[in-house]
Symmetry: C2
Subunit: 416 residues, 2 copies
Amino acid sequence: MTSTDLRPAPSTAPAAPPPVALAARLAGIRGSAIRDLLTLTARDDVLSLAGGLPAADLMPRERIAAAADRALRSPAAVQYSETAGLAHLREVVAGHETGRTGRAIAPADVVVTSGSQQALDLLARALLDPGDPVAVEDPVYVGALQVLQAAGAEVHPVPLDADGMCVDILAARLGAGFRPRLVHTVSSFHNPRGVTMSQERRRALAGLAERYGFLVVEDDPYGLLAFDGTPPRPLAAHGERVVRLGSASKVLAPSLRVGWLVAPPVLAAAVERLKQSTDLCGSSLTQMITAELLADEPWFAAHVDGVRRENRDRAAALTAAVDAEFGAAVARSTPAGGMFCWLEFADGTDTTALLPTALEHGVGFVPGAAFSVDAAADGGPGLRSAARLCFATYPPDVLTEAVRRLARAADGRIGQ
Amino acid sequence: MTSTDLRPAPSTAPAAPPPVALAARLAGIRGSAIRDLLTLTARDDVLSLAGGLPAADLMPRERIAAAADRALRSPAAVQYSETAGLAHLREVVAGHETGRTGRAIAPADVVVTSGSQQALDLLARALLDPGDPVAVEDPVYVGALQVLQAAGAEVHPVPLDADGMCVDILAARLGAGFRPRLVHTVSSFHNPRGVTMSQERRRALAGLAERYGFLVVEDDPYGLLAFDGTPPRPLAAHGERVVRLGSASKVLAPSLRVGWLVAPPVLAAAVERLKQSTDLCGSSLTQMITAELLADEPWFAAHVDGVRRENRDRAAALTAAVDAEFGAAVARSTPAGGMFCWLEFADGTDTTALLPTALEHGVGFVPGAAFSVDAAADGGPGLRSAARLCFATYPPDVLTEAVRRLARAADGRIGQ
């Protein structure tokens, strides 16, 4: 595929082929700025802090290989399987979710999906009609924005601060008549902002969902990776109108393509029906592997502990380097889990303009504007001078070098 | 999950929860009669000819385990991967498709999907607006019908006969002003009807697509399983307005969840973008396994040869048993590949009514009415007295016993 093919189609339809108005349809789907950047940062000479890639060196490849070998002794590991997910995996996930939320989650409440991204897509297709209002955090998880835009939803941004979504601002809008169908949040160790919603705000948001009849989608891929070993209490612990999305991608491996949603049975059944026409079922092989690894509780606890400790060390290396290199020129988040650190340049540096210089200096990041809900507005000054750095992908010494390169790029820019 | 949860939601919205009008949305998605039947036929005492399950005993489990082990020596096998599919797999598929179609297929023309079902779903979402007219074969592959209905398309049935889709009937409708966006066909060894479209009709259909500007979706999971070892020449060999869907499910294993579409680059790029928001990417692990097995041409050819020979023997056992048990009371298709044999009861037996009796006698099948495009019309007398039997799942002796049970059920019914 040439690089030309990757670009969004022009907004006017081409003269002859394609047979239908693809270009017009494509214009409705916001291209992922991050994906395009990943293409740029995939060069061997670039240390990319841009991708949201968990550390492949921490993933349990040998254990996965052993589990695959065991699974493949059974014909079930090669055959089609239940659309909602293997019964054993649903039981294991229900057990984990019961432990996390303190609520009795039944296997019937769980639908296994192709990563939690598919759970989000199926939910949006099940719940939303074009024009339906929804609320998201701003800056936003781009994968959620894409899904909601593809469903034709009217997407309303709610600001974030150090305690997560500004639920008071949402409450004021609800009081003024705003009636979203659903509210999406990355409640813990936010992507891209790094913050975690306070328990007080979680309780308030769950209450608003009850009062105004909307659904909260709690997207929680990072919760288990709390640096202090204490995952934040889920939003779903505070009320029943919360659909939880979980994933094996950050705690085991993305290539398993195992995510899940936990929802009331009528909604779980709707998602299951949609999944049937979407891709029939997930992989029985990777689901058997995942079930074995999640069900081996002592092993899984030790494994997650290892990942979170290493992530903590990586975050510490990254933030130490940022402080050493930039000092007061950059304000940064203090990661407490997850994979991301958020920088804001005090002098209003346009990070989108900085990126090409950074790539020349051999380092990649994602400019804050890429996470703006309103692409046209580019996120305003706050996002325009921000950057998301992923600290999970590389070991500490590489992160230190990457930040050094970023500082040189910023200096170089000033010197130009 | 209780059996109640599997049933379609009622057509009126429940009083309190769910928060939004799920039931109304569900009413727009036709539940799969086949899926519900599979639930019934999953009992241990029932020999089910109902499912479209390839033979798990013929799938190369040891080879898959060895390939998994090899793949997992590389960190790439656990990480996120390219949305359009691993480059190596796209190359291998492009090579195979070039060989099949006699046209130069580039890797950029290939998008790897989660089974070919996802290819169909993404295509429908990329190409169709609600109300857009499309044409399908009648009886129809239910998975295609579900996708097209979920996209809100206006689905027009075109009859099938022993030479596949009645392209002359489609041509007459096109002449009268019918303008479909796309026409879906299972061109070879049709599911459920078992027939294969003649080369003359393939040429004619490709020509109509050029003349009237629609896209043909050639759904071809079974082509390689031609009993005589000569896969039918694809429809895509006859024209450029044909999107081909292929799959590893029937020639390797469904649990790999590897399918693909071959389309012009602008359409492939649109599908790739939609896939990104749908599930980010497929599994690098199962794609690496699939690429290794497809690329090992001598092994793959021998493997497919073994599967098609065994399928041929199974089909022979099934049809011999049908002839011996039913004689002139049943007309049947003569399978030449694929997985299905189609029966029509000469006396107009209502096969939907026969099914419960058959299950009592320990055998399952899918009644013809389940494949009707117009569910309300129930397919008319032709489909109402028909049945789809899958001959791929069991070895010959079990198939013989299953048909014996079916004959006893039909006799028992007559005797009641």
